[in-house]
């Protein structure tokens, strides 16, 4: 616990130092220019950054002294994974991050000019889903309460969120939600297919339908709209026909 507080304090001190330097002096290779402290009318845009950074540095120093004087303790705030798990979790996160940021748009295929948007979208979906499935599902098939299990579950949540962020714009909400909910459910402890399939469908197609058409929330449609829209419309038509049929006969 004590070590964690010390590390957190050091991070905050580094942050304050960074804002002080960028605010007052500017860092040219980060596109930041110094902010004027004073102008004709009064305090300028640099006034707040400088004073807040100085206060934060002082408080950070004080907190560091305060914490370092406290006795050490044995409280471990975070789960401690075995080396195997650390490698698995970090490796998985890394591959997912790279896959997420590099492949949804398939820059290589695009530059050569191969395939339509749909083909590229299809390829990237299969690839991304495969990578994510391999990394999140396989190592964590039996969720347990050990620290290793906890770390793998946390890594799965973070990695799949990264992947979802990368997939949203190129592939659309429906596909992203389908891949995200399906894989995360399995990663957090595989439920039976009987629940998994309807839940995933409702989370992707159902949520999209309600929010995009019902509440007019602007969501990315993705390259499969021509294919998914008839499915949705058909499903809704079928559902209203069935419910209408039942309400007619139960009246």
């Amino acid at each position: 616990m004590k070590r964690g507080w010390l590390i957190a304090t050091m991070c905050l001190l580094a942050f304050a130092g960074f804002t002080l330097i960028t605010g007052v002096f500017g860092i040219s290779w980060l596109n930041s220019r110094p902010l004027p402290l004073q102008d004709k009318l009064g305090p300028g845009p640099g006034f707040f950054p400088m004073w807040l950074s100085l206060i934060a540095l002082a408080l950070g120093g004080l907190l560091f002294l305060e914490v370092s004087r406290q006795p050490s303790d044995d409280v471990r705030p975070y789960p401690v994974p075995s080396r195997d798990t650390t490698v698995k979790a970090l490796g998985g996160l890394l591959v997912m991050a790279i896959a997420g940021w590099k492949y949804p748009t398939f820059p290589l295929l695009e530059t050569i000019g191969i395939g339509s948007e749909i083909v590229r979208g299809g390829l990237s979906t299969i690839l991304l889903a495969g990578v994510a499935a391999g990394l999140t599902v396989w190592p964590n098939r039996k969720p347990e309460l050990s620290d290793d299990g906890a770390v793998l579950r946390i890594a799965a949540v973070i990695g799949l969120l990264l992947l979802a962020a990368a997939m949203l714009d190129p592939l659309g909400f429906r596909l992203t939600a389908f891949v995200f909910t399906g894989l995360l459910l399995v990663a957090l402890g595989a439920p039976s297919l009987k629940i998994l399939v309807p839940f995933t469908l409702a989370a992707s197609l159902g949520v999209f339908y309600v929010f995009y058409y019902g509440l007019k929330v602007p969501l990315p449609v993705g390259p499969y709209d021509w294919m998914l829209k008839p499915v949705e419309t058909g499903a809704i038509a079928l559902w209203s026909a069935v419910s209408g049929f039942f309400s007619f006969f139960t009246r």
């Binding site: 304090t9 304050a16 930041s32 950054p49 934060a56 907190l63 957090l188």
Partner: protein, 498 residues
């Protein structure tokens, strides 16, 4: 027009079929947010803001407010049946409420909590009606120096009254203020800390940050330790024994008073009134040995305080434009998204909206009493949904909500980053609430400080020559001194923020 007439007109709007539906949807969603462990009112309200993008502003605000106080009601259910607070303000309810559930009196605990919440909420709203007009008239006389001092008092309260370390609390506030500087300078319009990234010109984005710190972070914590145990208890008997009623009403009255007065002060946070009420009930009781073993006063008092606080904290938001907790800050964000600036001017510019919203508080409290008394069994069933579905569903809505604010993936990544930071800080028990309030108050604080100094041509004496400003600044100093000397009761100091 008199206040009463304005309120009557408000009722006319709030009771229209459309707004009634929005209030009902808000109450149901809010109770759900409260019931689901892992989604507090702040994250819940933030996630559901996109729901309201295409609604008319009155309906949108009515619904989001209903989500807020609905979550305050719903948090009790989880506390009683799971011994896990559905939201931070129900921490205290776990103590006696869960003890009652284990003795088979879960129904009575939930019933008393619902009645207490109703009384607290309605009383606070009546008082809101009474004080709103005079207070906003007073606030109109405030200049930038007064607002600066008032916000400082709020920030001092947030940092001083909650958290293990005062230094860490103040540091987190300052870091929040620093994060708020990213984007366009509120006075001169100069870009700051944008590093040439177009997405940063809008700032760090308050809503994704809240979703991350309070939503994603909670989910990560749940994913780490997913075990929980629902206590099966008797929910058929929802009312206390006849001989308990006297004590219960007295507790409800005391809790309501505490909650209301603390709700008026910006910065107190939802958790402190409940702790104060619990301590008071424990000191006043005739049989202290019952406390810890399911004392009904220990549920009735804090739950009334909780909801009286929730409704009273709308007073500083609506009259002064100052949010007093992260959840209220999210609501303020919702006002701004809908093109409204809460504060004294709102009463003059959009009286029909304000009064419709206030009237909807009465409607909402009635709806919640109905939802929570006869239908409590239904909510208890939701607790049996496996945690995986709750986690996945919440995260999906987080992605949807963060994306739809600006139709930008940047906000989704932003949310994830703050989710990881929030998880790490939460596990360390590092204060997070001050950070959030710093981010929302940052631009306003800076603007008022710099305009004050422009008024005085750079002379800092403007803050001591104006009586109200001077008084407020002294209050801020006193709060910090009290916090530094650890004069506040231990239970309050150890309570974590919202």
């Amino acid at each position: 027009m008199s206040t009463f007439q304005l309120l009557l007109n408000g009722f006319g709007d709030a009771l229209s079929l459309q707004n009634l539906t929005f209030a009902l949807i808000g109450c149901v969603l809010g109770t759900l947010v409260g019931v689901l462990p892992g989604v507090g009112p702040a994250a819940g309200t933030a996630i559901l803001i996109p729901l309201t993008f295409k609604l008319d502003p009155t309906g949108a605000i009515i619904m989001l407010c209903a989500i807020y106080y609905g979550a305050m009601y719903g948090g009790t259910i989880t506390s009683v049946l799971l011994n896990v607070p559905g939201e931070a303000a129900s921490v205290v309810t776990c103590i006696e409420g869960h003890a009652m559930a284990k003795k088979g009196r879960g129904g009575a605990a939930l019933g008393v909590a619902a009645i207490g919440s109703f009384v607290g909420g309605v009383f606070a709203t009546v008082m809101l009606v009474v004080v709103a007009v005079p207070l906003s008239a007073l606030a109109l006389k405030f200049g930038p120096p007064e607002f600066f001092a008032l916000m400082l008092v709020g920030l001092c309260l947030v940092t001083g009254l909650a958290g293990k370390s005062l230094t860490a609390g103040i540091l987190m506030t300052v870091v929040g203020l620093m994060l708020a500087m990213v984007g366009i300078d509120p006075v001169r319009g100069a870009p700051r800390f944008t590093f040439g990234v177009p997405d940063l010109y809008d700032g760090v984005g308050f809503i994704p940050v809240v979703m991350g710190l309070f939503g994603v972070a909670e989910i990560l914590a749940t994913a780490e330790k997913p075990v929980r145990e629902v206590v099966r208890t008797n929910l058929s008997k929802l009312l206390p024994e006849p001989e308990e009623w006297g004590r219960v009403w007295a507790s409800i009255a005391r809790g309501t008073g505490i909650g209301f007065f603390l709700g008026l002060i910006p910065g107190v946070g939802a958790i402190i009134p409940t702790f104060m009420s619990y301590i008071l009930e424990k000191r006043l009781t005739k049989n202290p040995e019952s406390f810890g073993n399911g004392a009904i006063e220990g549920v009735a008092g804090p739950e009334s305080a909780n909801n009286a606080y929730a409704n009273a904290s709308m007073v500083p938001l609506l009259t002064l434009g100052i949010p007093s907790s992260p959840t209220i800050a999210v609501l303020m964000g919702a006002f701004i998204v809908n093109g409204l600036t809460p504060g004294p001017f709102l009463f003059q510019e959009k009286p029909e909206l304000v009064w419709a919203v206030i009237a909807s508080f009465f409607v909402g409290n009635v709806l919640l009493l109905i939802l929570n008394l006869p239908l409590v069994g239904l909510w208890a069933k939701i607790l049996e949904v496996p945690y995986q579905y709750i986690c996945v569903g919440t995260l999906l809505f987080c992605i949807l909500g963060a994306y739809s604010i600006n139709q930008s993936v940047f906000d989704v990544v932003n949310m994830l980053v703050f989710g990881v930071i929030g998880y790490l800080l939460k596990k360390l028990e590092f204060p997070v609430a001050p950070l959030v309030l710093g981010i929302i108050l940052g631009p306003m604080l800076e603007k008022s400080l710099r305009t004050s100094l422009e008024m005085s041509a750079g002379d800092f004496s403007i803050f001591v020559t104006r009586p109200i400003t001077l008084f407020l600044l002294i209050v801020a100093v006193v709060i910090l001194v009290v916090a530094a000397l650890q004069l506040a009761p231990k239970e309050i100091r150890e309570a974590k923020g919202d």
